[in-house]
């Protein structure tokens, strides 16, 4: 399955500005299905990690209070063109997704 993470990196000198958007329902567990009235189970990303050349540059712990289809941005220094930035998440139902992009 194609990755549902989009990541854009802008290099300014050795600082990389990362913007990432991923598709995920981020269900809170308190919503009900309008047709059946059944509660939709909790389903949210728990951990999101950004690795530059295998080294963690950002780890995000998420709750259900992160919006559906989460967006994150941050910057890190020590980046250079040709570095590989990997983004991966796991959710509370054990699903995961990841994507890699080359800086520059």
């Amino acid at each position: 399955m194609a990755s549902k993470i989009k990541v854009k990196v802008k290099l300014k000198g050795d600082v990389a500005e990362v913007k990432s958007l991923m598709l995920h329902p981020m269900e809170t567990g308190s919503r009900k299905d309008p047709d059946t009235g059944a509660t939709i189970p909790v389903h949210h990303i728990t951990e999101l990690t950004f690795l530059n050349n295998g080294e963690t540059v950002m780890a995000v712990h998420c709750s259900t209070a992160v919006s559906r289809d989460p967006f994150f941005s941050f910057s890190f220094s020590g980046a250079k063109a040709g570095d590989t930035l990997a983004v991966r998440w796991v959710d509370n139902q054990g699903e995961s997704d990841s994507v890699e992009t080359v800086l520059g």
Binding site: V15, M26, T28, S30, R31, K32, T46, E47, E55, T56, V57, M58, A59, V60, H61, C62, S63, T64, A65, V66, S67, R68, P70, F71, F72, S73, F74, S75, F76, S77, G78
Partner: protein, 150 residues
């Protein structure tokens, strides 16, 4: 029989490994207790061991004054504090106040943004952990339509 014995062994090894990990490393795992807390102070105590954070003008918390849609509230936090270890966002009146927590390794700039859900008008607090303690900045965000699935 073979299989269950193996499972048991794997389980014991995992448990032993878990017990052997020092506290500092445990903090890097998903902090379930903090995220399950129903009060802001409780969540902070679970995450940091204290609910006391010093208000700091070195933190700039950017959030809308009025969020039309509580399901998508853009929040960004930037700070000039040094040696930042983590940035957490706490929404006081959400059913579970701790929204998100960013672990910031050395080299990463303490400048993060994301979008969160808010159930109702509430104080939003950015809690920044540095090697010299906890600092915070807060701002009230008015919500016209709640985003917690009501």
């Amino acid at each position: 029989m073979q299989l269950s014995r193996r499972l048991f062994l794997q389980g014991s090894v995992a448990l032993a490994a878990l017990l052997a990990i020092p506290r500092a490393l445990v903090a890097a795992a998903w902090p379930e207790k903090a995220f399950a807390s129903k009060a802001a102070a409780e969540a902070m105590t679970a995450l940091f061991g204290t609910d006391q954070a010093t208000p700091s003008s070195a933190i700039s918390l950017d959030a809308p004054e009025i969020a039309e849609n509580g399901a998508v509230v853009p929040i960004s936090v930037e700070t000039t504090l040094e040696n930042v270890q983590s940035v957490s966002i706490v929404v006081e009146k959400n059913p579970r106040p701790l929204a998100v927590s960013f672990e910031i390794p050395p080299g990463t700039l303490p400048n993060v943004a994301c979008r969160i859900k808010m159930g109702q008008t509430s104080q939003v607090m950015a809690v920044v952990k540095t090697d010299s303690g906890l600092f915070s900045a807060a701002k009230e965000v008015k919500v016209t339509i709640g985003g917690c699935g009501g």
